[in-house]
């Protein structure tokens, strides 16, 4: 399978001009006007291109370049607006911007696929809606911008805005998440506008293949990355099968909240959680993760009821022993965790849509698409990290980057063909299967 042509390149260094950040919405106004005019032209050109492909099964070169530039320009302006990049974007959609996609050459396209392009794009459009909103970044003009606030990219930009104003830098993990969301949106645009015939790929490890990984987080994923087989029967009845787990999780949650209150007082006093609290809460967070993975089809087997480590093919590694924790961070934990949970909440929408898409795909093929599985694994991991932070299992803030952290310094951007196309089982980066046990 050929690699997806519109992979993302991120050369932004994270530095932000405070003034440009503060006035970002106003600075984008000229682009909005230009974007609106360009969109009108794109509407007619796309229809013409559609007819050309239906006749020749090959796009016309001129309209292809025009539409490709439009896709690129949309990405540039969105990246600037949502603080994924700080350089004022050019008006021509030329390559070389801080957050960009690779060039896409005209290629043969199937007539049938082109004819039903917008119907086929519905699942991808739904996923995009959770990432960048119905406006699709700048697509809906000012309204699109407002709608985008309740999405992944909207939440990232909101918190980036405050941090950038304070520090003059954007957190790289938030930038990566925004870049991922906008990059996927660009893939969807390219697909809908017939720039490429290849279906958008949600896999964060593929989309951000050239981006440096963040430092390792004490709460991380492990498991068998190739475990994509799904039992059609348990997929069909996945929700009813999960209900006993949901009831148990709900009951356990009550006990967990009581223990968390005790744990908070003790940690505030001693600077370290009691071991039994740590173990109890670790089990709960891991169990929550297992149930989420089962329910969302990120993993196949029916999970156990006790959150035991090593019992599930998609597992969560948590600190084995209570760590020393900063008392200030402990004291204000419930406030500090709010941004993480807001981002986690927007990722839950992504998770739900991805799970529904996976449900249909697994029923038909008996296998989960690797890209969707990795996306769901990221959403579940981020939620688990947020829970671990709330329950004082670690005082490391959740890693918002869709890429799993790594211990050794990451190699400089290596443009390896990590992603090998939909249905490929080679996505091992996100879930190191044979890392040493920490618990």
């Amino acid at each position: 399978v050929e690699p997806h042509p519109d992979r993302l390149s991120v050369t932004d260094d994270g530095r932000r001009s405070r003034a440009a950040v503060f006035f970002r919405v106003f600075l984008v106004i000229p682009h909005w006007f230009w974007f609106g005019l360009w969109s009108i032209a794109v509407f007619f050109v796309a229809i013409a291109q559609w007819l050309v492909i239906l006749v020749r099964a090959q796009p016309a070169a001129g309209p292809h370049r025009f539409l490709e530039r439009y896709v690129r320009y949309t990405l540039h302006v969105s990246a600037y607006l949502f603080l994924a990049c700080d350089v004022y974007p050019p008006f021509g959609g030329r390559p070389g911007y801080g957050v960009d996609i690779e060039s896409i050459e005209p290629e043969r396209q199937g007539r049938l696929g082109a004819f039903f392009r917008l119907v086929l794009a519905i699942p991808a459009l739904l996923l995009t809606a959770t990432l960048v909103g119905w406006g699709g970044g700048v697509r809906g003009g000012a309204y699109g911008f407002y709608f985008s606030f309740f999405t992944v990219v909207g939440m990232c930009s909101l918190f980036s805005w405050f941090v950038s104003l304070a520090l003059g830098r954007s957190p790289l993990q938030l930038r990566d998440l925004s870049a991922y969301a906008l990059g996927y949106s660009a893939q969807v645009n390219a697909y809908c506008l017939l720039v490429t015939r290849r279906y958008p790929n949600t896999d964060p490890t593929a989309l951000l293949a050239t981006v440096a990984r963040p430092p390792a987080h004490p709460v991380r994923l492990e498991g068998d990355a190739a475990a994509l087989r799904r039992s059609r029967l348990t997929v069909l009845f996945r929700l009813p099968f999960a209900i006993p787990h949901i009831v148990w999780l709900y009951l356990w949650g009550y006990a967990c909240n009581l223990v968390a209150i005790i744990d908070w007082f003790v940690t505030l006093f001693r600077g370290r959680s009691p071991r039994w609290c740590h173990q109890f809460l670790s089990r709960y967070v891991r169990y929550q993760f297992h149930v989420g993975a089962f329910l969302s089809l990120a993993a196949n087997p029916f999970p156990g009821f006790v959150g035991a480590h090593g019992s599930y093919p998609l597992d969560l590694v948590l600190p084995a022993e209570p760590e020393r924790q900063n008392r200030w961070k402990t004291g204000f934990r419930i406030v500090l965790v709010l941004p993480a949970f807001l981002i986690a909440a927007t990722l839950q929408f992504l998770l739900v849509i991805a799970a529904i898409c996976t449900w249909f795909a697994s029923l038909v093929t008996g296998s989960a698409p690797a890209g969707l599985r990795n996306t769901m694994a990221f959403g579940l991991r981020y939620y688990a990290q947020s829970s671990a932070y709330l329950y004082l299992l670690t005082d490391r803030y959740p890693n918002a980057s869709p890429l799993e952290g790594t211990d050794p310094p990451p190699p400089p951007r290596v443009p390896d063909p990590v992603w090998d196309g939909p249905g490929d089982d080679a996505q091992v980066e996100d879930m190191p299967a044979d890392e040493p046990e920490t618990e």
Binding site: S231, F237, P240, I243, P301, F302, F305
Partner: protein
């Protein structure tokens, strides 16, 4: 050892029979119902429609039940193959196997459920395809919670070395305790509103039962039920029974019937009967489970599920006899409270017309499906009371 076992068995059987006799006792007199003909009591058209509808419904029940038995029979043989879909340890795997068994039954019975809705609608009765398919798919979740809980109790007990195959002895009281808890808590969880009618208080005074009388919306079937224990006791009337063609006199009779259930402690008695059936059922399941390594092993679960369904089906006629006996006592109680057999007769005539309830179904339908006396038997009781008690007890 054999003699000792026989003695224990006799003692247990005697205890069971004594408990059953105690629970069977009622305020019903030794009566002999007059024999009436349904062709005289009901219009030919209503009778034909009820019998025609009943025939279809019986056919679908038979088809659904046979399908269930065949599916679970095959599942008991090959179900262990799904063990590989679990990462949950023996007990969790047992739960999954139990749920898969019932999920397969649901899938196999789906055509019958859809046909039943079609048949209901064809006969002018309410029915929703969405509820029969997607709704029931979601309802499987609550069924699975109960199943998982029961299996968790039984399997965990069976895995305790000192209990082992005798798990059924502690498991039966746990199941009964849960039944008690649900019976106690359940009425508070049902959405409803109060019934304001002049006949409520006089009836409650007559039957010496003072409980809230509630109305439930959201259903298209005319019905009512009494539930709860102690402070949670309540009577629920489904909204359609308060609407035409049912009259105020009919509703008064219905309420008296439901209050009769509470006045004669039928909820407690039902739980008592549940306990009496649960103990031998659990014992037989333990015997079946031993063929596959005991209840503590997940391999036994598909066979146990099959045995459970077969034994429940076998016990159904006996349970229906018990339930019909209590319903007859509630009818009798309603007659004594209202002194209005004409209202009762009108009520049961309306039931036949509105719900297409066959007044004299075939014997096997009566044995397996009817947990109330037939409409004909109930009208016969109204006539019997009128002839023998009306003059003596009229105010």
């Amino acid at each position: 050892v054999t003699a000792r076992r026989a003695a224990i068995l006799v003692a247990v059987a005697a205890g069971w029979a004594a408990a059953a006799w105690f629970l069977w006792r009622s305020s019903l007199p030794a009566y002999r119902l007059p024999h009436l003909s349904e062709t005289v009591l009901f219009p030919a058209k209503a009778l034909h429609e009820a019998q025609s509808y009943g025939f279809g419904a019986q056919l679908f029940w038979l088809g659904g039940t046979l399908t269930q038995l065949v599916v679970l029979g095959i599942y008991s043989r090959y179900g262990v193959r799904w063990m590989k879909e679990s990462a949950a340890g023996p007990v969790g795997t047992g739960m999954l196997l139990g749920m898969i068994g019932f999920a397969l039954v649901w899938a196999a019975q789906l055509p019958f459920a859809v046909l039943s809705v079609w048949w209901d609608r064809h006969n002018g009765l309410p029915g929703s395809y969405l509820a029969a398919t997607v709704g029931n798919w979601l309802l499987l979740g609550s069924e699975f919670v109960a199943l998982s809980f029961a299996l968790a109790v039984a399997m965990n007990l069976a895995r305790v070395r000192r209990i082992g195959d005798r798990w059924w002895i502690p498991a039966a009281p746990v199941v009964v305790a849960i039944t008690l808890l649900l019976a106690f808590v359940g009425p508070w969880l049902l959405p409803s509103h109060s019934l304001h009618a002049g006949y409520v208080t006089p009836l409650e005074n007559t039957e010496h039962v003072h409980v809230p009388v509630r109305v439930m919306s959201g259903t298209q079937e005319p019905n009512a039920f009494a539930t709860g224990l102690g402070p949670s006791r309540r009577v629920f009337l489904w909204k359609p029974i308060l609407e035409p063609p049912f009259t105020r006199r009919d509703d008064r009779f219905v309420l008296a019937h439901e209050l009769g259930h509470l006045a004669h402690n039928h909820i407690w008695k039902s739980i008592g009967w549940d306990a009496l059936f649960t103990v031998p059922l659990a014992f037989l399941l333990a015997l079946v489970a031993r063929r596959r390594g005991g209840m503590g092993t997940p391999e036994a679960i598909p066979l146990v599920i099959f045995a459970y369904v077969v034994l429940s089906l076998a016990a159904l006629p006996l349970r229906n006899v018990v339930q019909r006996h209590m319903e007859a006592e509630a009818d009798w109680s309603a007659l004594r409270a209202t002194h209005d057999p004409a209202a009762g007769e009108e009520l049961f005539r309306h039931f036949v017309v509105v719900t297409r309830d066959d007044p004299s179904p075939p014997w096997w339908d009566y044995v397996f499906l009817e947990n109330h006396p037939t409409a004909l038997q109930r009208i016969e009781m109204m006539r019997y009371w009128k002839e023998n008690y009306a003059a003596a007890q009229s105010p």
